[in-house]
Structures are given as C-alpha cells and as structure tokens.
C-alpha cells in the first residue's frame, strides 16, 4: 500500500486485541540423546508434558477508514483469532494436535511464529504489526515483520 505522505487525516494507528488459551506441551528433540534432551530442555523435557495459560496480543496497524473510523472491525479480528488460534490451540497438546507445529519444538518462539504465519494472510484491513505471546507473566516472545523498522 503506497501512501502519499502523512497528513493530519492520515495517521497510522495500532490496535491490539488480547486472547488467552491453555495448552500442553513438552520439549523433546528425537535427534538428541535422552541425556542431551534432559540437559538442554531441563524440566520441560518431562514426557508427560505440562501446560501454560498463554496470553496472545495481536497488534494491527493501519489508517482508520474515514467512514467507519476503524482500522479493522474488531469483531472480524475476534473471529479470525477464534478460528485460527483458539480452535487450533486451546485445550490442545501442542506436540500432537497442531499440524503447523509438526516437527518443531513447541517453544514460545515457534508457537508465536506459527501464529504470525496463520494470521498474516487473514488480515485484510490494516496489516499485522506484531504478535506477542506470553508463556507466563515473566516470559514473552514478539514477532514482527522484520523489515528493519522497529515496532
């Protein structure tokens, strides 16, 4: 989308929607020995798995539509998050039940990257600016377009 330059009526806005989902996972790389898996992944290597209440913040950037005053309809974003994230990941075991994560260790980094790839093509109004995924209050991952511009 090419823009002729900023004017007062054309000022980019970022909006963020938050959802929460709960899921199980564990970290295990079949190419590592049992000892390496334990050493590298520690408690997260427990084969019975463990779980988190993930908090996902999805940020959309764009210019508000002059008619509706919206960057995008939050109802539409809510539906996209429901379909793409909640139905795929909520109350699921991320090692076994999410095909997009197959063959990957379901770390916060990889889950957030999968969510970015799922959401980006679905945002038709504005553009996906940032995906922030909290695994816990003290740990989160940010994914952005990575064109060199800072979020």
């Amino acid at each position: 989308m090419e823009r002729a330059g900023l004017s007062l009526g054309e000022c980019m806005i970022r909006i963020t929607r938050k959802i929460e989902f709960s899921a199980a996972h564990f970290y295990h790389n079949p190419n590592f020995s049992a000892e390496e898996n334990r050493r590298i992944f520690g408690k997260c290597n427990n084969p019975h798995g463990h779980g988190h209440n993930y908090v996902l913040e999805v940020t959309i950037a764009g210019d508000p539509d002059p008619t509706t005053g919206m960057v995008l309809d939050l109802k539409e974003l809510k539906d996209i998050l429901q379909t793409e994230v909640m139905e795929r990941m909520d109350h699921r075991h991320l090692n076994y039940e999410v095909p997009e994560l197959a063959g990957q260790i379901p770390t916060c980094e990889n889950i957030a990257a999968v969510i970015w790839k799922l959401l980006e093509p679905k945002i038709r109004s504005g553009r996906l600016d940032r995906v922030r995924l909290y695994e816990s209050h003290d740990l989160f991952v940010d994914v952005s377009a990575g064109n060199g511009a800072r979020a």
């Binding site: 970290y27 790389n29 190419n31 590592f32 590298i40 992944f41 520690g42 990957q104 260790i105 379901p106 770390t107 916060c108 980094e109 990889n110 957030a112 990257a113 970015w116 209050h137 003290d138 740990l139 989160f140 991952v141 940010d142 994914v143 952005s144 377009a145 990575g146 800072r150």
Partner: protein, 144 residues
C-alpha cells in the same frame, strides 16, 4: 519475520540521588525527596529482550537455562538487596538514577554470548519506567 524473546526479572535495592557536582542546596532542589541522606528503595522490575535466529534443534533464540544464570550473575546478584550507591562500584561515581541503572544493566548484559541483546527495560515504580534499545549503543561516548 523478526523474533525476540523477553524475560522479566525482579530485584529490590536502595539508592540515594546525590551528586558531588552540585551543592547541598542544589542537590536538594534537583532531587527532592530522593536526596534524603539515608536513602530509600524500590522493587525494580527488569525486562531483558534478546533477538537472533531460532535454533531449529531447540526451537529457541536463547535457552533460559543459559540466559537466567547470566542475568542472575551479572545483575541480580550484584544489585538485589543492595545499596546501589555504595555496593555497585559504578554508582560511586555516577548518580544511581534509574536512567543510569538501566544503562549500567545494558552494559553488563550486552555481551551475552548466545543471542543479541536488543532492549533493557526497567521499571522503578508502577508509575515510571526506562528503556534502552540496542541501537543506542554509544556507551563510551555517553559516559565520557
């Protein structure tokens, strides 16, 4: 696509804002209550953001099993439950404002060998916070 990982830590410490470069009266005027000679303290919250490629074998930018002990050794142990002005040598010469604390923490963490330090964010109270991005890395010039 760019990915970063942020980890949050906490430490509690006391400080006093006072500089020998100003007179007693000026110190009182500039720093107000924070100039109290007995010092005061905060529960600091620290966010450390690192970036870099996600290792396909581990799915990680940096293993917390390595980042946590590094931050613990470089910052938490030397700062937690300490009087910053006296017990952290860098603050004997410079005022222990949270700007300077933020900068000192960045300096201590910037050589983390397993990922690139992108940002240090520190909250002094729920009402104020300070942050430094990696591209503001002219430490020697700033300090001079």
């Amino acid at each position: 696509m760019k990915i970063s990982l942020t980890r949050r830590y906490r430490f509690a410490a006391s400080h006093r804002l006072h500089t020998a470069r100003l007179s007693e009266a000026e110190n009182k005027r500039v720093y107000g209550k924070c100039n109290n000679p007995y010092g005061h303290g905060h529960n600091y919250v620290l966010e450390v953001t690192v970036t870099g490629p996600v290792d396909p074998r581990t799915g990680m930018i940096a293993n917390l099993a390595e980042l946590d002990p590094f931050v613990q050794r470089e910052v938490i142990e030397p700062f937690d439950q300490k009087f910053l002005n006296e017990e952290v040598v860098e603050f004997r010469e410079q005022v222990a404002t949270t700007e300077n604390v933020c900068r000192e923490i960045f300096r201590r963490l910037k050589d983390f060998p397993l990922a690139t330090l992108e940002r240090v964010w520190i909250q002094e109270t729920s009402k104020n916070s300070f942050e430094i991005d990696a591209d503001v890395d002219k430490w020697d010039e700033v300090r001079a």
